[in-house]
Symmetry: C3
Subunit: 155 residues, 3 copies
């Protein structure tokens, strides 16, 4: 068996692994939040999900949408749209040999901005809190993309 | 050119590559399922998609939603929300040097649970089939995240 | 600190990194497009987003959906559904030691097809432009998955 510990002894890569795991775990928490609001507010998307609350027509009334549930779902989708680019670009950026301090700055800003985005979306905080959180994460990802392409472009 | 076969000779990494490829291919199959139901049920989201079924007002009646199509789309989105964390966390976990047997257990449970989730969603099977499938996949990903952070945390 | 430049000196991997960064940046651009149409058409999903356009009932009228915005959102979701498999399968494929010319053909076709898909979706071009773009990208990803599983299957 080949020794891979080499990759995991690289500090930038370990930092990327830690921050990515944290932000992906946060994203997964959104599923639990959706399930929580669906169950406490009895708001379902599938007939089989509300079978235990009643039969036939009585159950159908739970097939509806709810502001709170839709808000969590939008926050979740926004996470997906932004964390997927971070995942891909961040991985490749980590492997391109950046400075440890520069890389840490990128990872910390991104993770902080996305946690702030979730808080701003779910509370909700007045704008431009959420917009600001979004653009910080967005800018960090573009900054990594720019550094990556500048140093390693191969088309 | 550098020899990368080293990474691909690592058994855990090869197993991760195989299971990931299978589950991502399964996820891509959901696009085909959506297209299939859209075409057979004549349910479209874009005016240009139903142009071949009629002109003007006659075509507009196909711009609608359908339970079956929406069900496949929800299953697809749920796949995305759960397979993306598996992809990121699983990759980093595979590189952190886990036991082959532990890693295989994680990968097999996840892939099995997600295939079961799709079957439970599309059939649909009564609850708690789908909820169970969801939580197995969810738990597996968190277990990998926990092991990764425990052994390699770098903030 | 360990030297990772080895991985980034591999030409296939550098090409994968470049094309992935480009296509993920293109996907991120969809967020900007959504924000642009939301602001210029005053179409919002959250009450706090239209607070600056009026108070109370006056603001509520901006909580609506709009064809143009929904079109961009569908294009964005379709990107996510297709770029995530490319990201995972493409990364593993790049590490499996393919021919440089074969790999480049896959990456270029995929990136070209997805850019064409976005143009076809947002213009919109008549079908089968968008369907064709979709299936090229889809086929490229399956081709990489097939090559990967054929050479490295480990279950």
């Amino acid at each position: 068996m080949v020794d891979l510990t080499e990759l995991m002894e690289n500090e930038v890569f370990m930092a990327f692994a830690s921050y990515t795991t944290i932000i992906l775990s946060k994203m997964m928490f959104m599923s639990t939040a959706t399930a929580f609001f669906r169950l406490t507010r009895k708001v379902f998307a599938n007939p089989e999900d509300c079978a235990s609350f009643g039969k036939g027509e009585n159950a159908k009334k739970y097939l509806r949408t709810d502001d709170r549930v839709e808000r969590v779902r939008r926050a979740h989708l926004n996470d997906l749209e932004n964390i997927v680019p971070f995942l891909g670009i961040g991985l490749l950026y980590s492997l391109s040999g950046p400075d440890l301090s520069t890389a840490l700055l990128h990872f910390r800003l991104f993770v902080g901005a996305r946690i702030y985005h979730t808080i701003a979306y779910l509370t909700p905080l007045p704008q431009p809190n959420r917009a600001l959180a979004f653009f910080i994460g967005y800018g960090v990802t573009f900054s990594m993309a720019y550094r990556l392409l500048k140093s390693r472009l191969y088309l």
